[in-house]
């Protein structure tokens, strides 16, 4: 629903992401706050936002595949790992510049994604989920046992990213690098979603047989969805590698893959904004649980250390369950309903 009085006279206006001056103003204000945060925010806040941004890229990739194209994947973390290891190997072993390694990580992870996406041409739903689960285990095994390349259990150290002589070593500089790339990737995802490719994805999700009959090449678009999803994951992995200065198999577990799906479900599948909501919500929740354990123990020492730590996990799980029961369409749906109501005000109705 558009703000009252807003009309489109051209197709370009109709598909524009930012429509009104107010929206432009809010976007610019948000970007100013985001990019001036290192001047007044502490390292901890910057680290939370940096990690959230990295995860957001991976989640948006998954959104394109699962949310838009309807192909379920439970192996996204493994593809993030592929991107991370490609970056680590290229930069440390072959001295490839970081930017080239970033692009290679995206392309490489995308190509690996195509291989594991081939079964999607024949199977779907639960069976496809099993295939992507297999991808998670296979890639996990590779990270752990191809020691000559991956360093095995110890993993690989990664140097700080550098572009054109500028080395991104401090928390602040890494924050800027991550935010710029995240902005570009989310914009890219939004553009994919609102163009022909995105519409083809949605058609496949709604009814792949009907989409095929209409002339949409299922093979091409399904594989493209996997390529894009895993490409996004690869970029996220590359950023993660330079941020942590380390890649290690323990960073890309099945639990992380399921968490990305959880972010998508809670945020709202099938919309870019939903991916953002879900990621931010989960990252804040995760950070809250980290802070809460010592606080709970300090306030209630009788509770015991284990109970105060375990309660936070319990709390985490309850939140997810409540969402699945009462708002399975995610935070984005509630946001859209809220937006609609204030745009109709004073004529809002339920």
């Amino acid at each position: 629903m558009l703000p009252c009085g807003t009309r489109s006279f051209h197709y370009e206006e109709d598909i524009a992401i930012v429509r009104t001056r107010a929206q432009w103003g809010m976007l610019i204000a948000f970007l100013i706050i985001l990019f001036t945060l290192p001047l007044y925010g502490n390292v901890y806040i910057l680290s939370i936002l940096s990690m959230a941004a990295i995860v957001l890229i991976a989640v948006q990739g998954l959104n394109l595949l699962t949310g838009y194209c309807g192909q379920l994947s439970v192996g996204q973390a493994a593809f993030v790992g592929v991107g991370a290891y490609i970056t680590a190997i290229l930069t440390t072993r072959f001295g490839v510049p970081w930017l080239a390694a970033l692009i290679s990580a995206g392309l490489g992870a995308g190509l690996v994604g195509i291989i594991f996406g081939l079964p999607a041409l024949k199977i779907k739903g639960f069976y496809l989920a099993m295939t992507t689960l297999a991808a998670q285990f296979i890639l996990d095994w590779c990270f752990l046992h191809l020691r000559e390349w991956t360093g095995g259990v110890s993993g690989l150290g990664v140097d700080n990213a550098s572009i054109g002589g500028i080395v991104f070593a401090s928390e602040q500089s890494k924050y800027y690098l991550i935010m710029i790339i995240t902005f570009v990737m989310v914009f890219f995802a939004k553009n994919i979603a609102r163009t022909r490719v995105g519409r083809a994805f949605v058609a496949i999700k709604d009814n792949d047989l009907a989409a095929n009959v209409m002339g949409i090449n299922l093979r091409f678009y399904k594989l493209l969805a996997f390529f894009l999803c895993c490409g996004f994951a690869g970029v996220a992995g590359s950023l993660l590698a330079q941020y942590m200065n380390l890649v290690n198999p323990a960073q890309f577990s099945l639990g992380d893959s399921i968490l990305y799906l959880g972010m998508l479900v809670v945020g709202g599948m099938g919309s870019i904004t939903g991916g953002i909501f879900g990621t931010v919500f989960f990252q804040l929740l995760s950070t809250l649980t980290l802070v809460l354990s010592p606080l709970l123990y300090a306030v209630f020492p009788g509770l015991g250390m284990v109970a105060s730590s375990a309660m936070t996990v319990f709390f985490y799980a309850i939140i997810i369950m409540l969402f699945l029961i009462f708002e399975p369409r995610g935070i984005n749906h509630v946001w859209l309903a809220f937006k609609g109501s204030y745009r109709l005000y004073p004529f809002a109705y339920q």
């Binding site: 901890y44 942590m244 380390l246 290690n248 354990s293 250390m305 284990v306 509630v334």
Partner: protein
Amino acid sequence: MRSKIKVGLMTAVVALLAISLVAISCAPSGVATPTAPGEVSIGTILVGINNDCTGPTAANQLLVFQAMTGVIEKVNAKGGIVYNDPNTGKEERVRIAYEWGDDKNDTARGAAIYKRIISHDPLLYFSNTSASTIALAEWFNRDKVVGFCMGCPLIARYPVKRYVFPSMQSRTDECATTIKWCVQDWQSKGHPGMPTFAFFTMGGAFGESSIEPGVEAYAKSLGVKIAGKWIFDPRATDLSTEFQAMVGAGVNYTYGNFVPPQFALVCKEQRRLGLEDAIKVITDSNAMWAKLWELAPEASQGKLGNVERPDVTEVSIPEVKRYVELLKNLELPVDGIGMFTAGHTEIAIDAMKKALETKGYPISADDLVEALERGPLLQAWGPHPKVYATPEDHMLSRECAMAKVSGAKYVIISDWMEMVDTRPTK
């Protein structure tokens, strides 16, 4: 009704997000423990702790955390670190405050906890899980925070990092030293040639941490054949396939990194299959404590382990007796893990005291590093094993011995050995 629930849910979400933002911004600067009444301290030293209180290895690690914080609180109850200040010329006291987080043995969580605590300028940081240490080993050096790494992957040890001190035995060094002992044991029994060795361990970062090129190279240098690597899922219940395969490969000795539940399974399976005489299964010290003989009272008898401290029953050693009493006073299980942790915590505190007596309060990370490198360090468990660090090697535990489970304890069956150095040469 349903819409009211949704509104309520969204209100809760918004409130939760707001609370999160406030909590993150206003997280406390430390858990300061009080001094004894009447004691005045001239300052506080902040210590950070990453520990997994929940998660896959929490069974061991919770005791680590409790023993560590118990020692700190005991020191504070006595008035803090008492030392002769070279600047004031008087006896002074400095409290120790600690801030901690539960990282669930997860690298990302460990990193997030570190980022939170580092903004409060800790002097010393205990990284008690392998996952955290892997992430933090470089960051300790970058941020000039002295890191005591109980989880000791190779990255914490090599190359030597100025501010990083691996306080737990190097698992690769342990494994290599065990291989050396196996050769001696094999030859002492009159067997010809060299024994056949295998890695037999549980899967995961901790379980597979001994399987490094340095160990394989050392075995090769001795002429010991490594028949293979048998890695099982920590949740497995049947190890017959692995055992039969090892028998088929002619394996004489195996080594693995276990925690008690998994090594208890290994003992029981070996007994069930009647292979106790065919293969000598050896573990590291993480499995050699009370939980093992509680879980497998019969099957664990005679099993071998590589240990770096006396058993808690060796109360003839005054230091062991002291730790037994300490753990009892803290109402913690009296076992090797608690004793080991308490010992290393006291070594860190003793080094702080030495630094304070040299430089006065406040001390910097460099002052603490010099105190640790200069030595001599507190001999936490008696004359053996010796504990020392040098500028060339920050490893704090360099001696080990072979032990055998006997009843509800383990008995040292070899001399204390200097650990084989398996660090890469370049």
